[in-house]
Amino acid sequence: MAEWFQDNGLLLGLALLDGLSSAGLIFLVAVGLNLVFGVLRIINVAHGSLYAIGAYSAASIGIFLSGLGLPDWAAVPTLILSAALVGAILGPLIERFLLRRIYAQEEVVQLLVTFALFMILEDVQKLIWGVQPIHHDTAMRALGTIDVPFGADFIPFTNYQLFVLPGIAIVTLVGLALFLRRTLTGRVIVAVTTDREAASAMGIDAAKIFLLTFTFGAMLAALGGALSSPTAALVPGIGAQTIVLSFAVVATAGLGQIEGAALTSLMMGLGRSIAVYFEPELEVVVPYIIMVLVLLVRPQGLFGVIETRRV
């Protein structure tokens, strides 16, 4: 064991740091998906497209503004603002003109509507941004790197991935928890998640809450994409990869659970990056193995609540 650490310690440290930053990204996307599911009861496949569009838009806006002479320090705020913009435009459009028509439909049909939207948006991305990789990493370069002490050695790592990504994820987690528990709107959202009918009977305007929640979820997806854009080149298909991973997180965490999504994202982010460094063949499989193991023990998900069966 000690010898193994001697040989692989640094690699493990790198895997942990990497896992932390990717867990942050996974969390942002998955928590949006989970929130939307909790309130609208729709698993939004197009959440992955919002992630991809968020990433592409952030890169385009970043490239455009850099051309106008935007200082490097403003690159990270630009990412966040462009994500908010994408969510604020696309979220209400999708909710109002598409989802609102299908709330009364079967679950299968709702799933398929968002799948159709996913297919459409997938091609829209290709038509707008083409299929060539797009790379814009000003935000990451501007913040430089840091030597993380690990035992006797140092691991060089970018500040962006070490502080910004997990930082924003933690701020989102805490902010969301406070928002849902302490503010009126937040409590109304929780009420609708728990029992839609009872909440409507109390006079809550469900339509407004649906619109609000979906837009917020769309912003979170776009934020995940925007923040990921400096770390890797953007290619078609990133939306598809992201959404299946987010599904796994949501099902493992328990439907509608915020803290559950955070813990699961951390598990999957770390599991995946450890796999990348030690058993690359398993990278894609690890999240699903975690999911299957968790669901074997807790069929309702880590933090899920067992629903009473109706007779």
Partner: protein
């Protein structure tokens, strides 16, 4: 409406044969459509129980890879089809024992997870599966007869058509049997089913194994027709495609999947040929229009045209 099904099936079959004779490239498209139709009948079974599997491409890909792997040793289309069906059935039983404990979104996502694990294995175990390059399938003898390429393609088309007929007939019988009615009961209210002493999980499991076998058969035909298998067959978008076809065709009757599959493949061919960069956009729009404006799918539309209203 049910009365008309056999007649409509014959008309549809005749139309397919005519089309295949008139345009050889259509023979290829229609064989694939029949294969997917058979797999989608499996989706239909699960939809009856109100469950949607978002990972059934797993069984299609499994059937296809059974053909690709065994073809050098078991060089006969008929034997390979049987092997694919049995293999997919066993895999379906193993996975089904696990996933039938779950319902709704968990059921869908666990199926998705299983198919993605299979996809990654196909992709990563390069020395066995040749990764994303895939494996070529050579023209093989059919029922002991060595055939040239054209005769081979016709035979596979014929087999697919015959199998589609048999599957349609058997599933029709199954759905109107007590077991099939119990399946619909899972959707309506599972608890009551259990109060009556019907083991709901067992009913769902048997349907799941059947749907896995149908997936395996469909996959085997796809492998024999396209003569090239890749991990993409198991990717989650392929699973989505199967559910897509089920809804496009309409979940009301066993002809729906075949109508849906034929329409899907034809739209895809035309869209891919005319708008190479936007075929997904077109397919997605078609799906949206069908869901929003023709909820019963193509089969529901046909039912209305025949003036019988109901789709059951």
């Amino acid at each position: 409406m049910r009365r008309y099904e056999p007649i409509l099936a014959l008309v549809l079959a005749a139309a397919m044969i005519t089309a295949a004779i008139m345009a050889p490239w259509l023979r290829f498209v229609l064989t694939i459509a029949l294969a997917k139709g058979i797999a989608v009948v499996g989706i239909l079974l699960l939809l009856r129980a109100g469950q949607v599997s978002f990972g059934h491409a797993l069984y299609v890909a499994f059937g296809a890879y059974v053909v690709a792997f065994l073809a050098p040793r078991l060089n006969d289309a008929v034997l390979l089809l049987a092997a694919a069906a049995v293999g997919a059935g066993i895999l379906g039983l193993l996975i089904g024992l696990f996933v039938t404990r779950y319902r709704q979104i968990f059921f869908g996502m666990l199926n998705l997870a299983m198919s993605m694990v299979f996809y990654s294995l196909l992709e990563k175990l390069y020395h066995i599966t040749h990764g994303s390059d895939g494996i070529r399938v050579e023209v093989m003898p059919v029922a002991g007869q060595a055939l040239d390429r054209v005769a081979y393609e016709w035979s596979i088309f014929g087999i697919a058509l015959a199998l589609a007929f048999t599957v349609g007939l058997l599933v029709r019988l199954y759905l109107s049997s007590p077991m099939g009615e119990a399946l619909a009961g899972i959707k309506t209210r599972e608890t009551r089913l259990e109060f009556m002493g019907v083991p709901a999980r067992g009913v769902l499991l048997s349907a799941y194994v059947m749907s896995a076998m149908l997936g395996g058969i469909g996959g085997a035909i796809i492998a024999m027709t396209s003569r090239h298998v890749t991990p993409l067959l198991a990717y989650w978008t392929s699973s989505g495609e199967l559910v897509f076809i089920a809804i496009l065709g309409g979940a009301g009757g066993v002809l729906g999947p075949f109508l849906g599959a034929a329409a899907f493949e034809l739209v895809r061919i035309y869209a891919a040929a005319s708008f190479a960069d936007a075929w997904q956009l077109i397919l997605g729009s078609v799906l949206l229009l069908v869901i929003l404006f023709a909820p019963g799918g193509l089969w529901g539309m046909a039912a209305r045209l025949l003036g019988k209203g109901g789709t059951r």
